[in-house]
């Protein structure tokens, strides 16, 4: 792998930047791998990278039906934070945030990590109380957080309308939260995994999973049969379909989640602003576009396009907070299919089939989880035993009742 550095940029400038090698190979599929990972999104690529870099497991293939990062990992609004309510979630998401702080150097790739702070707004007395409870829990979990008064908010976000239909009374900030460029993350992980010997197979759709005596044998793909002893299902909104191929069901429903960006404007917003009550959030990208998100479409879908109804509801919601956005044109608008679990906590670990592991159920908020999701799944695969950080994220919790009901507690947005 040729390193990215200012010297290399200068050297390549001499040849007009025409001699850069591709960032990863496009190999032929082998007949057999030690580990096969289905899904070339952030979680699949991170799993491959950590299997190779932390466990020395390099006979690994990542199978992606489209192109790398073409799923939710390339469709999200890039927000990272670790201000979760329950200790299990906080420990996991803070590990992920720490990895985000470390990965740009480790992967030799500028991820455009911007820890600009994530501000959660409170619009009523009840919101204020809930926010304080949430804030206290975040502090107890050892994660950074700051209670914010209305005046504090006016100071850090002067473009926000504090006196809307739902007036802003206060809020709380996670200063280490922020934004990471999503394409950069998938490309960096792909390049890192490839350089350690992982085969990244694009245009390779899994169409069947061979299981014998409750043990995985191989997958059938559009690029032929590939045998393996260990298989990881890392397919977000398409997880139920893969599970069905392997003969089991999941507590997951697939729904579209939309986002939109406006035309670029001068810098006006340098924090991420989220409101559970209004149900919308916004940030400004480096290019000046306002990136806007809100609630998911409320019915099952695999269409990768959201309903105009939800799009309108989300647009109207954000105008409550920023009425002046009404002057901006929307440039792009899209949806990804998110995998929602009943308790909005992910499912990560072993499955009823021997040799099959799963990482799914991140729903509307698993981008921030990618580094730790990959690290813990790699450990789980390498040792055939769950990583301590994700012991509570197992599939059995739906039988035992040990749910981690993060949705209610943290008002999980994204």
């Amino acid at each position: 792998m040729s390193r990215y550095s200012i010297w290399n940029i200068a050297r390549h400038a001499a040849s007009g930047h025409r001699r850069w090698a591709p960032a990863w190979r496009s190999p032929e599929a082998k007949k057999r791998y030690d580990v096969v990972i289905i899904g070339g999104g952030g979680h699949g690529l991170a799993t491959a990278y950590f299997l190779a870099s932390q466990h020395g497991v390099t006979r690994v293939a990542v199978l992606e039906k489209g192109y790398l990062g073409g799923g939710n990992s390339g469709r999200n609004t890039q927000i990272i934070r670790s201000n979760y309510f329950y200790p299990e979630s906080a420990a996991f998401y803070d590990r992920s945030l720490k990895l985000y702080e470390r990965l740009p150097r480790e992967l030799n790739f500028n991820l455009m990590l911007s820890q600009r702070g994530v501000l959660t707004l409170a619009h009523s007395r009840h919101d204020m109380e809930a926010n304080r409870r949430w804030f206290n829990s975040v502090k107890l979990n050892g994660v950074d957080a700051k209670l914010m008064s209305r005046e504090d908010i006016a100071r850090i976000a002067p473009s926000l309308n504090l006196d809307s239909h739902y007036p802003v009374l206060g809020g709380f900030l996670q200063p280490r939260g922020g934004i990471v460029r999503h394409d950069a993350l998938t490309w960096a992980l792909a390049r890192g995994a490839d350089s350690l010997g992982v085969d990244l197979l694009q245009q390779c759709e899994v169409t069947g999973i061979e299981v014998e005596h409750d043990r995985v044998q191989a997958v059938q793909t559009t690029r032929g049969r590939i045998a393996t002893g260990k298989l990881a299902l890392v397919a977000a909104g398409h997880s139920s379909i893969l599970a069905k191929m392997a003969g089991f069901r999941l507590p997951v429903t697939s729904m579209p989640l939309q986002a939109m960006v406006t035309e670029p404007v001068k810098p006006v917003l340098d924090t991420v602003i989220m409101s559970g009550a209004v149900h919308a959030y916004a940030s400004q990208s480096d290019r000046g576009e306002i990136v806007i998100g809100g609630g998911a479409d409320m019915h099952h879908s695999y269409a990768q396009k959201g309903s105009v109804l939800t799009y309108r509801i989300n647009a109207r919601a954000i105008l409550e907070l920023f009425p002046w956005f009404s002057r901006l044109k929307i440039m792009r608008h899209w949806a990804g299919i998110v995998d929602i679990t009943p308790d909005t906590t992910a499912i990560l670990g072993k499955t009823p089939v021997e040799g099959i592991y799963i990482n799914c159920g991140w729903g509307t908020g698993g981008y921030k989880a990618i580094p730790a999701g990959g690290e813990t799944l790699a450990h789980t695969i390498a040792h055939d035993r769950p990583h301590p950080l994700v012991e509570g994220f197992n599939l059995e919790r739906f039988y035992t009742g040990a749910l981690i009901d993060e949705g209610a507690a943290a008002g999980v947005a994204h």
Binding site: H238, S240, I241, R249, L250, P251, V252, T253, S254, M298, H299, H300, S301, Y302, A303, S307, V308, L309, P342, F398, Y399, T400, G401
Partner: protein, 92 residues
Amino acid sequence: MFQIECPYCGARDEREFHFGGEGHLVRPGESVDDESWAQYLYFRDNPKGVHFEQWCHRFGCGTWFNIARDTVTHEILRVYPITDSRPERKSA
């Protein structure tokens, strides 16, 4: 946005309806094991294709009813009463 044919009021905008999730879930008896109970409570088919689901005409007549809808094209293949049993996949 799509239109749904309410059995009572006729075709109306999606915005008037409330989605009620997968239909035809049958509550098992009290003596079932934890696994069957969890399957009933949480585990779902979540198909890519025809899905049998419940909707309520919330901002209308308030009727609950079943529909068979394609989760890829969003085409509504059939609307039928809440008390009907699940149609065979082919006849949907």
